[in-house]
Amino acid sequence: MSKMVTLSIDGRSVTVPENTLVVDAAKMNGIDIPVFCYHPKMKPVGMCRMCLVEIGRPMIDRATNQPVLEDNGSPKIQFSPKLETSCTTPVSEGMVVLTRNDKVEAARKEIIEFILTSHPLDCPICDKGGECPLQNLTMRFGSKEGRFLFDEKMHLAKHVPLGELIWLDRERCIQCARCVRFQHDVVDDPVLDFHNRGRSLEIMTFSEPGFGSYFSGNTTDICPVGALTTADFRFGARPWEMKPAASLCAQCPVGCNLEYTVRREAKSGGATVIKRALPRQNESVNEIWICDKGRFGYHYTQDPARLGQPLVRRDGELVPVTFEEALKIIAEKAAHQPFQILAGGKLSTEDLAALRGLAQESGGKAWLHTYMSGGFTPHYGLSADANLGALGQGDAVLVAASDLHEEAPIWWLRVKQAAERGAALIVMNPRPTRLKKYARHVIRYAYGEESLAVAAMAEENLALAGEEIRAAAETLKSARNLVIFYGSEGLGLTGSKGLEQALADLLERGGFTGRENSGLIGVWHAPNLQAGFELGLPPAEGLADLPAGGVLYLAAADPAGDDPRQAAYFSGREFVIVQDLFLTESAKLADVVLPVLAYTEREGTFVSGERRLQRYYPALAARPGLKADFALTALIAKSLGYELEGRAASLALEKLAASQPAFEGLNYLKLAEVHEQWPQVGGSDLYYGGTSYANRQGLGKHLSRAAKPEPDAAPLREGIRDVPKNALRLVPHTRLYDAGSTFAPSRLLDQRRARRQLRIHPRSAEPLGLQQGSQALIELEGAPFTAEIVLDETIPGGTALYPRSLGVPMNAPFHAVVKPVFDKSAS
């Protein structure tokens, strides 16, 4: 506990920790000091001068080093002759701060007037108008009339694209540098900077494409004026016209808290639609940030291609029918048949529980559609009040087989911050990633040998271990907490299983299991895979793992879309039901296709990779006739004579909590609990968090630790070892901007979307005749495909990296012959 300091602010005696800034000390005690450039998540710079206050300190007699006393015995206060910036001044004992006297008020008025000298005051057409700190503070502290005529003001470009996502209005910029500092200090993507000085100062981006950062949208939130706006929302609506709805991001397992703001739209025929996604504060999950994938990735929920009516196969064609008819057909065909269910990680916890229930009742089995193994995370994962934000000096973070910056940017940010606070970061990856810069130990291994490397660290098998592994093992010995992230780079399900068990073993041997801030986190490819593992669903890479016969029921899973060869497994089934948002490749092969509500139109819960159970609320009204996944599954069960909870998501969770120990004691009310968070954002004082919303709808709760799983004999090496001489080993990696069905409809990011590229070391490429930028044919048996060649010296030899979710029909390592494709027109 740090030392406490007592001072007086506006006559009130307050006690705050030492080194707190005056502006924060005031805020903690309910006194607002206006700011523009200061942001509690960044170091102060004192650029805008808005936070000027009068500060006095006790007078010290230089001769005696004792405080000088007034006649009445109180210490004599010496006020500095000029006002001081409260954002750069730390508190000191006995300090007297005055924030509301005439001198301060006059200074604020002058600063506002000074800032407005070159501000266009075009609030009526400004996207920030209505939630703008400059507007609010001008109304509160500014002068009623401006002495500067518009024609005498600076006239600058009003439409400067910083890339295609974020646009800059140079006239509105007040040069507070929040965006520049955010990019430099918070997310370490220094792609923005000031150019020139004084009146010529302007914000520039020098990346290609412009403003190349996965966090760029956050700058529009923290911009205290309307200088930075997103292309996605530009002129979309006025802030007061939109209704906010609390939700979660469904793009990755971090579980960032979001606020969707919705409004009726003429373009959509008068329907209410989501206009934008903004971060909702949760200091234990995403603080007040979200990545651009989460901000711009919601478009699929309102894509016109979504299914609106059930389809049934008649004479080989899928024809639209009513729900009653579809259920009747299911009741006829599926009666007394075991249900083999493949469920996707995009379903809510309640949906997965309902599917598991249906499988059990019918004598079948439910599987989780994933190429990652996570059966150990319910026991070894985080629980209780774990918080990545609390990791620091003395703790260790291990990131294995994951490029966190691409797979889960907010976790990357949290790990980076933990490392900056002093936590020892160990990065294990066959090639360098963005985390390398912050790592204390970097362990390189060959693709396929990740489990061996971990085992070496756990057992200190020095014969195998290199110097780095030994050093890392030494660090782990003295660590207080150990958080392990494991991803899926270069791994399929088999390799993932081996890695997971090796990492669990590492936690166990180090004695980390059961410690508050220690555990295993899977960097999943879907928002709610964790819930599937909590429910004990076994993972399945595809339909080959499911037993033949019976009814095949796919929910939010599209194996045929991922890999056309999976279509073979559809034949030989009595009946195939597909439940999805879109008419996927798998749906095209089904007997019955059932449309469902998007997660933005219903209630539900997701379990984040950190095992935090969080609630999302309906942002939009349910589409007429459609039902949520769990309700639909319950209806199917009912038509077959089984009883499942399908009335409300909250009841479904209560039922789950009664039977599943990890969920014990949790219900929707508990998940909606909030407590005060620092810094306070989203109030009437928009100047702190910008347009991040305060969290009033629930911070979520951690699941409790599940029983210890039985280890099975997992292989320590990924299967692909014996690569034929003329073939290449191809391993998967994940890119953030992929072409998955829930992200592809966000057309705005098309320019930045990763392409189907094969990354290969120049030395491996040369003998095969592959050149930078050329097309290559990968002769994968049954599903050959082409990809663009990218020469990359960081890729280990004999191996090529292919991206997931970009049309490559594989998710696991494989080997194949790679040949250049010669352009016929050129020859």
Partner: protein, 163 residues
């Protein structure tokens, strides 16, 4: 009874207070608040910049505005923003004139047309095409293709704020 008859007889020779509407129409007062119009500048550009302050001010929630972005090739109004959708539900409107007050560009004006009739509710929604005044003489219809940088200011300077 005689007094009554005398009154009747007297009225016969008085000038009638009624007029034969609709052939004849009474002129409206200068500050009469009738059906809205969306005005234009002399060059034909629309005054409305799609700021939706009229919708915010409307106590009856009768106005719906959606904005889009101007370009110099496709310019509807000065500045960056114009109203791509502008609808007033005349059944909801209470003709209070708050929209007129809120408008920063004097684009929406309550005119002197009081002859509104509809046969169904959909007709009561007046769209932008109905509300916009015709292009003045010498002006061009919108969207216009204009020289870059000429119309970059959305809100005109107000000569006299009290006006």
């Amino acid at each position: 009874m005689l007094t009554g008859l005398w009154q009747t007889l007297k009225s016969v020779f008085e000038k009638p207070v009624t007029i034969s509407y609709p052939e004849e129409k009474r002129p409206v007062r200068p500050r009469f608040r009738g059906r809205h119009v969306l005005t234009r500048y002399e060059n034909g550009l629309e005054k409305c910049i799609g700021c939706a302050l009229c919708a915010a001010a409307c106590p009856a929630d009768a106005i719906f505005v959606e904005a889009s972005e101007n370009t110099d090739e496709q310019r509807y109004s000065p500045g960056e923003r114009y109203a791509s959708t502008y609808e007033i539900n005349m059944l909801r409107c209470i003709y209070c004139g708050f929209c007129e007050d809120a408008c920063p560009t004097e684009a929406i004006v309550l005119g002197d047309n009081y002859e509104l009739s509809f046969t169904d509710r959909h007709q009561a929604i007046y769209t932008k095409d109905i509300l916009l005044v015709p292009v003045p003489e010498g002006g061009k219809p919108t969207p216009q293709s204009v020289e870059p940088g000429k119309y970059d200011r959305a809100v005109p300077e107000m000569k006299d704020p009290a006006d």
